[in-house]
Amino acid sequence: MTVGADLYCNGYYLILNLFENEVVTQTINKLLLTGYYLLNIGYIALTLTQIDEVETTTVALEQLAYNIGRILLILSYLHFQNIALLAWLSKRKHILINQFN
């Protein structure tokens, strides 16, 4: 059943669009987005090889939910890490500006 494989690919690209950043510089944003794409494509490539026998609808649903859930968890982890990094950076910036003035 290759339908499962197709479904994955469609599911993932929707997630990618959600990423927005408050960083003013566009380049960093672009880099992050590229990293996002790479991560997703790599994940798809990895999981596609894992699924070999999808016999029934039950197994298909289970596999689909499991794999999408896993990538969502990974992405959420990275997302919160990113927010933490941004918060830390903005705090640093504040301190630096205070020191130099």
Binding site: A65, Y66, L72, L75
Partner: protein, 150 residues
């Protein structure tokens, strides 16, 4: 038999997604005010931070809901011993009805609800902490200004 499991999945998915969306909408509609207070009225940053957290919340909760969707079928296995050609053999059969699946479904939805509750309370704690910190920062700034004026 497998049809019932598929039906359970089909019942579980909308419930989980709806639960996530309702919780997220209620929480992040009300957290805007806190964000505005934390970032002392700078609306852009407050809104974008709110949006970032909302995205993270959706990712985390939907990911968790999907990750935990699979029903563990080993709970339904019943073991029988039968004599086949004079040898006592072990036969495992899957036995489950609507009751078992309903129980599993409710336990899954319940765990999801509890996890969402914990997440919301954790985010509330973060909001209150941020509010306190930003208030402290403001006080310190005012104090510094007063000292410089003297």
């Amino acid at each position: 038999m497998t049809d019932l499991i598929v039906k359970t999945y089909i019942a579980y998915l909308p419930v989980a997604i709806l639960l996530t969306f309702v919780v997220a909408r209620i929480f992040f509609k009300n957290s805007k005010i806190f964000m505005l207070d934390i970032f002392s009225g700078r609306e852009e940053i407050a809104m974008s931070t709110n949006k970032l957290f909302e995205t993270g919340f959706y990712l985390l909760s939907l990911g968790f809901a999907l990750f935990r969707m699979k029903i563990n079928k080993s709970n339904f296995i019943t073991i029988d011993f039968e004599m086949v050609e004079g040898v006592r053999t072990r036969i495992e059969t899957l036995v489950y009805g609507k009751q078992e699946l309903f129980e599993v479904l409710s336990s899954k939805v319940g765990v999801l609800a509890v996890v969402l509750g914990f997440m919301v309370f954790f985010l509330m704690y973060m909001l209150f902490r941020g509010k306190k910190k930003s208030a402290e920062g403001r006080d310190r700034k005012e104090e510094l200004q007063r000292i410089q004026e003297i």
